[in-house]
Symmetry: C2
Subunit: 411 residues, 2 copies
């Protein structure tokens, strides 16, 4: 079966143009623009014999019935929300690729034994609420109304308030949960977001497991003082405490090995003005790995360093755990199927772990799940320089199409 | 001559209530609230035989004529703009103290040979434009229209735009400059903003010199990457570069001795969201001391560390010098006069440098200038916990009153 690259390109470029910020692509979850992007995809489906449903948190389901429609669905998908100042492929690739598979089947009048379902998950990126894969977590019963009630975005809006702006009712989010029995399997096609495929000159990545993040906020209370009149030895400078922790976290991740990574993505000092010693500082910390113990060792170093920095600098430091997802191993049968498909289609492939988290890691708790990667030039993502060639995109969508049709038993 | 402490207290408390932010005292220069505070003081002067003038940048002059009114004026004053989330004494003390001296003379019908002039300088704090003592710099010819044309506040407003919101015309600021011949001397009464007087149990500080800041912004360009998918050794993390510089600056200030201090008051990372390695970071750096060479040594370390961090982390770092004021020594005759006045009034005093910058450092280039400190509890200022007792405030105002009346030759 073929794919229509012109259509794919048009849809991806159109999505890239729907942004909250002129001159860049920023489409945070639950924004008016994120909603407009969803509605654009829904409009595209209207000419086809597809059933469309959105759940209470905004997850979008586009279903093509099977000959035996009571059977569990062969599912696939990704997300379309973005980070701040994003690239155009992270999320849209798997979403638009899935759409293309459904359109082709409709256009060519092809039936499958199993029903097919494209899922576009809401709020995959943590950029708005410091909380990732919100839609898939709710759907798989990993998050619920209670666990989400304290989320706040940078403007201080709660999830309830953010959802209300696009007409969703937070009090209904527990209805988002579905049952594992509804799913035969799940596939996610995504850009790699790292440099391995490009370095190894491979077109397809077959994912063996997904590293998951430990995320926390470190709140450091010191004392705001006049920056000219306060001698160095009298200071309780919260920013310097934060700087020490950031460097210790980096060292710990390098020491941990097993491809463990750790990031302090913000170090927000208050009041943050020229003539005041910072009295308060907040760090966003993200620690990831496939190897649970290596990942845990970084968290342990952070806890130890907090004690040392507290004592040394007279600060008071609170460590607030935001989320701790478990690393996920994907089933060998899915790795095998995707590898075979890549080989049959003539694409060089690499069997590899995923450093980034994905909705697939929650779907893996429901049903056999596989992930397909295509290369990211220079490993860059979450950045306007993110780039994958249209040839590589075609390869990824064709592999996805093949494994989906095999699972769905095309007639 | 007496002072009316009830009136002083009322005016200081009233000024503390004029704020742009509910529940705290924030009255940045050129804000509507800063303007309201100026107008409040002007209203208070109306019943008295005082002439009131504001110049093109908003400096406020309240003058009581002398018997020989052509003589140079005995001047004194401070400022009333504040930092973000400020205390109530930093600035208002010297302003309200000066007002009280004028009110007493008017009420008691006392004449002086020399004219008296209270100056309330505009925009002393650097909190709005990362640029301190703007009003006195213009008045003393140390800044001019050209040197100020690039200033921007946190919202990106230029000084011209900020001034326009309160009806001032930036194109006229060069008319603010006055001539040294107009001034016989200048006194500034201020809280210490450090813990020395409190530690030494002294009521009055007699200032020998004013430490001046070197201020700069360090702009660090790295690369924004996915925080999960980018291996540690591929990263060009701007925040970590900033953390290393902040700690190096601290160490350099401690090593420099001579009471040199250095502060990184902000470390602003972009995009600053949980799942992105920071691609950009900006540091605000403030280095101060009375000892020029010690101060310079910290700046040199910063330059060296920038080279090292650039090489080590693959970053591109720009050091932008914002201002470099010269430390100022105050004339011995003023130190002597203030010491004598404190002694005559029965207050224990300490001869000491000022760590903080003040408008007095620019006035010192015009005329013999003296500074009087009162204690700051625990050395805290630029903070709502800033505290000086009303007894200490009375002591400071009485010393100011005595030296002003001696210089003005009360009849």
């Amino acid at each position: 079966m073929s794919v229509n690259m012109k259509r794919i390109q048009t849809i991806i470029e159109k999505l890239a143009s729907i942004s909250s910020v002129p001159g860049e692509l920023t489409r945070l979850a639950f924004s008016a623009e994120d909603e407009a992007a969803h509605n654009y995809l829904i409009e595209l489906c209207k000419p086809y014999d597809l059933s469309i449903r959105r759940d209470q948190v905004g997850n979008l389901f586009i279903r093509k019935s099977g000959i035996e429609d009571h059977l569990p669905a062969v599912t696939f998908g990704s997300h379309i929300d973005t980070v701040v100042n994003a690239g155009k492929f992270d999320g849209p690739l798997g979403s638009v690729g899935g759409l293309e598979i459904l359109f082709q089947l409709c256009e060519q009048g092809v039936q499958t034994r199993y029903p097919l379902e494209l899922i576009i998950f809401t709020c995959e990126e943590s950029s708005r609420f410091n909380y990732a894969t919100l839609g898939s977590k709710l759907m798989c019963g990993i998050a619920n109304r209670e666990s989400l009630s304290r989320l706040r975005d940078k403007q201080g809006n709660s999830l309830e308030e953010a959802m209300a702006t696009i007409g969703l009712d937070f009090t209904e989010v527990d209805q988002v949960k579905r049952n594992a029995e509804e799913f035969k399997c799940f596939f996610e096609l995504h850009i790699e977001q790292g440099p391995r495929l490009a370095n190894e000159r491979k077109t397809i990545g077959v994912v063996t497991g997904i590293a998951a993040p430990i995320r926390c906020i470190v709140k450091i209370q010191g004392q705001a003082d006049h920056s000219g009149a306060t001698a160095m030895h009298y200071r309780r400078d919260a920013l310097l405490g934060g700087a020490e922790l950031a460097l210790a976290i980096e060292r710990a991740a390098i020491d941990a090995g097993h491809s463990t990574v750790a990031t302090v993505s913000n170090l927000n000092a208050k009041p943050g003005v020229m003539n005041v010693v910072p009295g308060y500082c907040e760090l966003l910390v993200d620690i990831r790995g496939i190897h649970s113990e290596a990942r845990e060792s970084v968290f342990t170093v952070l806890q130890q360093q907090i004690e040392q920095v507290t004592a040394k600098r007279g600060l008071s430091i609170e460590l607030q755990l935001i989320s701790k997802d478990q690393p996920i191993l994907l089933p060998d049968q899915m790795v095998q199927q995707i590898s075979r498909a890549a080989q049959d289609l003539g694409y060089a492939y690499e069997i590899m772990p995923s450093g980034a988290g994905h909705d697939a890691m929650h779907m893996a708790t429901f049903c056999p799940t596989g992930m397909i990667f295509v290369p990211s030039k220079n490993g860059i993502s979450h950045n306007p320089l993110e780039f994958t060639s249209w040839e590589e995109i075609e390869a990824g969508i064709k592999v996805l199409q093949l494994v989906v049709l095999e699972q769905a038993e095309k007639v």
